[in-house]
Symmetry: C2
Subunit: 449 residues, 2 copies
């Protein structure tokens, strides 16, 4: 970004019909819109009008919950993001995909194809997929244990990077007269042989506009943080208090530096669930309405699920049952990030279960307020070393995206915290990231000793 | 189709820059167009203007040849076909995908998603992927032997069908007031346990517009034919003489009937490579020009490769070295269909190697001629029991598609052999296929005995 003042990045997380579980019952759009590609394209166009960095899609290869209770499945993200890329010009497209339930060759190719067809706007949100539901769709009786998942993930990402690098940038000659399409010396087999995979390569598409799709990582366990520090361009994280956000931010920047990286090349982006009204009262009323549709029992069920506790141990107007809450061992097969985010908030602010339920949505910090208040909290985290950007989860779509773009973005722009126009065509440009050279390329400038 | 006279189906196979290996050197479009999504969308729009049934994309998870010799890779087909579906209204989209190098849950979901977002126009061309190049990208030292590939394919397709059926058509209630999204009794686990896979389900998307994507099969081995007869809605096949085409057609219809199916529910679609000129002389001149760019040596290399023979055994102006050509054993790890198609043509017409090379393109029968001549050969095969339709491989794009739509389609329409407009929104409608009921649905009308 050079001499420009530091500005934040903002991703829009299109989580079904909205981040609030009751969005589908509120009636803003047809509940079947989550199967309608035009629904996603519309939200993406709104987000691009607000010069947001990217559209983000979460994913897992299983029903995410009880199909009776709401739209819990999803169209496959790389297809939806293809549709979004073709309906937009600049906004990035971030696909979540699991290293536990894909093959590196197929996934690297699909993400590389997305980078080609979007003109350099693709990113991969690397997840290892906790939970048994997905495992049972892939021949396993339960999810592989955490260490195994991450061992595979580390190797998987290395292979993907090798495949994306396997065609050097200048491999294609396309000399029609001589009939030489590519310089064979610049198209490399990768000959990977590891503990989990053997992949020969090369990839069957040339290097993509960004060199490699942007790599995003969302795990908060020790292994997740190590992978992010070594490989990721951005980290999505669940942080519920400024103090914890600052600690996580400082830790991740230091971890990146320990790998010899420029700390600024790893962007920290906490999630933020939003309910926006023209006034705080209006926002709180909207939140109350959505909460009432959902009912307190369902909210408590979500708290219990993220803590991997039985609901019966939670008492509405008391604090969490601390004596029952263990440490990371408990979340071996769940999300460490969501676990920590809840515990930290409840502990720091000594919240009752009811209060805690009202402060978290989709596992992330919830802020209900006026556009001014939303802008304030983004600024507070951004200028105080807790965030380089945010992954937004509005309560419902499209209105939650629309009100953010029309009323929060202008405030951020006036404060000089957010771009007024895109400065380049690629997602790397939006995020202020370098385009990586291929690891197979000869050193471009050999300097005499 | 009811009382309408029988009409043919036509698919457009977008094979890189054209079916002729030298298309990229001819200069009609930029050689990098094979990475440009607009290139594919343009050909699809032309094809839809001609009311063609579908766009077809071949595929394999490896470089298809020497990257030095031409654009031998491909963007991932389900993404390209998503882009095509969104640029068109009616034309079908057929994605080739391998049962050897995918997981059934992921692929069923991607194809189901494509059926949703295209409004019911998706098809899957089921292949098992011969050759070692792909195998080596997936941890194997060579392709699984033929029998193993097909054992896995049979089970893979059964699982995909179960997953597509796992949500009954009327499973979604979307009752906002009561908060009931789906009728849980109509969303089924599939609990598949087989020799190759264990998959619990249900799929994480509801049943798609066509119930199931259309199933296409392209294998000509015994196992391939058995799978097609049991499961496929359409068979793509390489047939080079009318007699062989008729024999294959009759055999497949009989095989389908043996499974208790209406023979008309299995469509037989031979491939046809086309070079079209306004006169036969013009077509032959265009063919000669492309052949000369390629050179006879490269053509012989393709003949040798499809016969799995060393090039040195081929003598240009003699017949094939029959004493060296074995039977199916030789094509254990190649394409039985392409093998047979070449052998049959050379044997029946006693062709020299040079003549044979000039009569086959992309492994399929080549016809060079005027629009009238192209229409004649389509009609001949269609009315004489050798084809329900055709999968077209023009020599180059977009001109090869354009001339077919503008000059051949009108002739076929005048003869009453091809539709003048689409009769329905789905690919099943175009092909005259029924929409299948979910295997999990209760019998809709219980008839008293």
């Amino acid at each position: 970004m050079g001499a420009n003042p530091r500005q934040m990045s903002i991703g829009m997380n299109i989580l079904g019909l909205g981040g609030h579980s009751s969005a589908w019952r509120y009636g803003e759009v047809d509940p079947l819109s989550y199967l309608d590609i035009g629904y996603y394209q519309n939200i993406a166009r709104i987000s691009e009008r607000g010069t947001l960095d990217a559209i983000f899609l979460a994913d897992g290869p299983a029903l995410a919950g009880d199909p009776g209770g709401g739209p819990s499945g999803r169209l496959e993200p790389t297809l939806v993001l293809t549709a979004i890329a073709l309906a937009t010009e600049r906004i990035g497209v971030i696909a979540t995909a699991s290293t536990s339930y894909n093959d590196p060759y197929n996934l690297a190719r699909r993400l590389g194809s997305l980078d080609h067809l979007s003109g350099g706007r693709a990113a991969w949100n690397i997840v290892t997929t906790a939970g048994d539901a997905a495992a049972r769709n892939f021949g396993l009786t339960g999810a592989p244990v955490h260490d195994d998942r991450y061992g595979r993930a580390e190797e998987f990402v290395d292979i993907a990077v090798k495949l994306w690098d396997s065609w050097e940038d200048d491999a294609i000659i396309a000399d029609r007269a001589r009939g030489v399409f590519a310089d064979r010396a610049k198209v490399h087999t990768i000959d990977h042989e590891g503990a989990h995979f053997a992949v020969r390569g090369p990839l069957n598409i040339p290097r993509s506009p960004q060199g490699r799709p942007v790599l995003v990582q969302a795990g908060s366990s020790e292994h997740g943080k190590a992978l992010a520090a070594r490989r990721a361009d951005a980290v999505f994280t669940a942080q519920t208090t400024l103090e914890d956000g600052q600690a996580f931010y400082a830790e991740m920047k230091a971890r990146a530096a320990a790998f010899g990286r420029d700390p600024d090349s790893l962007k920290i982006m906490p999630g933020l669930s939003t309910v926006i009204g023209s006034t705080e009262a209006e926002a709180l009323a909207r939140q109350a309405e959505l909460d009432e549709i959902q009912g307190i029992e369902a909210q408590l069920g979500q708290v219990a699920q993220r803590l991997q506790l039985d609901r019966k141990h939670l008492k509405l107007d008391e604090e969490l049952p601390w004596h029952l809450i263990g440490d990371a061992l408990r979340v071996e097969n769940g999300s460490r990030g969501f676990f920590d985010a809840q515990i930290n908030l409840a502990r720091r602010e000594r919240l009752t279960v009811r209060q805690l339920a009202g402060r978290i949505r989709s596992g992330h910090r919830l802020v209900a307020g006026s556009p001014e208040q939303i802008a304030d909290t983004l600024e507070e985290w951004f200028v105080n070393g807790a965030a380089d950007g945010f992954n937004l989860m509005p309560d419902m779509f499209p209105s939650g995206a629309q009100v953010f773009v029309d009323h929060v973005v202008p405030i951020l722009r006036r404060r000089g915290l957010f771009r007024t126009e895109y400065t380049g065509p690629t997602l790397r440009d939006h995020l202020g990231l370098q385009r990586p050279a291929s690891q197979y390329a000869a050193v471009p400038h050999a300097v005499a000793a």
